[in-house]
Symmetry: C2
Amino acid sequence: MGLSRPGIVAAAIEILQAYGLADVTMRRVAETLQVQAGALYWHVPNKQTLLALMSDEILGQVATPDGAVVPGEWLTSWSHQLLAVLRSYRDSAELVSAVLASGLGGVDPIAAPRQLLCQAGAPEPVAAAATHALLQVVLGSLVVEQSRAQLAELGVSSAEPAVDSGAVEMGIQLVIEGVLARLPKEDGKQ
Amino acid sequence: MGLSRPGIVAAAIEILQAYGLADVTMRRVAETLQVQAGALYWHVPNKQTLLALMSDEILGQVATPDGAVVPGEWLTSWSHQLLAVLRSYRDSAELVSAVLASGLGGVDPIAAPRQLLCQAGAPEPVAAAATHALLQVVLGSLVVEQSRAQLAELGVSSAEPAVDSGAVEMGIQLVIEGVLARLPKEDGKQ
DNA sequence: ACCTGAACACCGTTCAAGT
DNA sequence: ACCTGAACACCGTTCAAGT
């Protein structure tokens, strides 16, 4: 009893999981909480901000790989972590992309890998561009993958033969190899 | 006098340029054409399809580099061509991304570079993943760039210091280097 | 064949008024 | 402080009816 920001975000994520992003409307969130739609606006300034809070909640679950591994492994591991978390939420890629574009997100999803690359000796612009590219490849491929899944669920067996799932991982690997080639080389041992 | 598919697409693109993607609604397109909103549905099955037609129109302007240049230069040139065309239309990256996700587009934007890579000796999955990654990096970075521009126009000088414009180009270069490393090497001279 | 008029079932957001 | 009720200004889409 009594609305709260976390409660609203939780309800929104429930709807996201059960019905998809298109069904996350202020009115449906309010309905889920048995409250009038206008009531939400006392806790959250607008829908865009609610979406940003949802995105932050999801991105907050991406763990940074521990153990002092070599940069290449670290980046691969991190990318797959991100991929796994995003795959566990329906329409998450579209959600995160929209929030990223809006600039309202409170979580910088590429802060960790960018820092790692800088520590590994990459110039800041290279680290920024590389992590950005990595994120875009993950999000872009996943948007397609998830929306295709959505369509398939509606019985629309799309014309395209579905992106083979390994393509995402291969795209990730290409970007990682590109950036590794720019790293100062430290002799193999350790 | 008399609606037509091309006329509808042209009107929609005019609105896109003048007011942005959010203002491209069936009702506003109809209003521009001095016609009732329902009339559009005789020429176009739904809004998604209209968006796909707009995207096709834009992507159709991307010229493939001519002259038998080396793969690296070809890919760089193609990427910048794509970038230039997309930058010439407001909100084009968001539009193309949405259409790509919907699977309704009639133009495959990466057909040309994929073919080139295959001819250069790349295995098909590598060529597909690489061109896909290239497209995602371009679209992803541009979505951010264009939406930031949109916000700036509304006087909202965003908190973030704006993505420095060179980051897009650097991301492109990284992906290209990654794929070039996988190409069978032909000795330097021609 | 092609378009109008009007409706249906929604949206996000605002805001007086209540408690 | 927090929520209701009701409105405002929109959406995409459908469809009888006209021409």
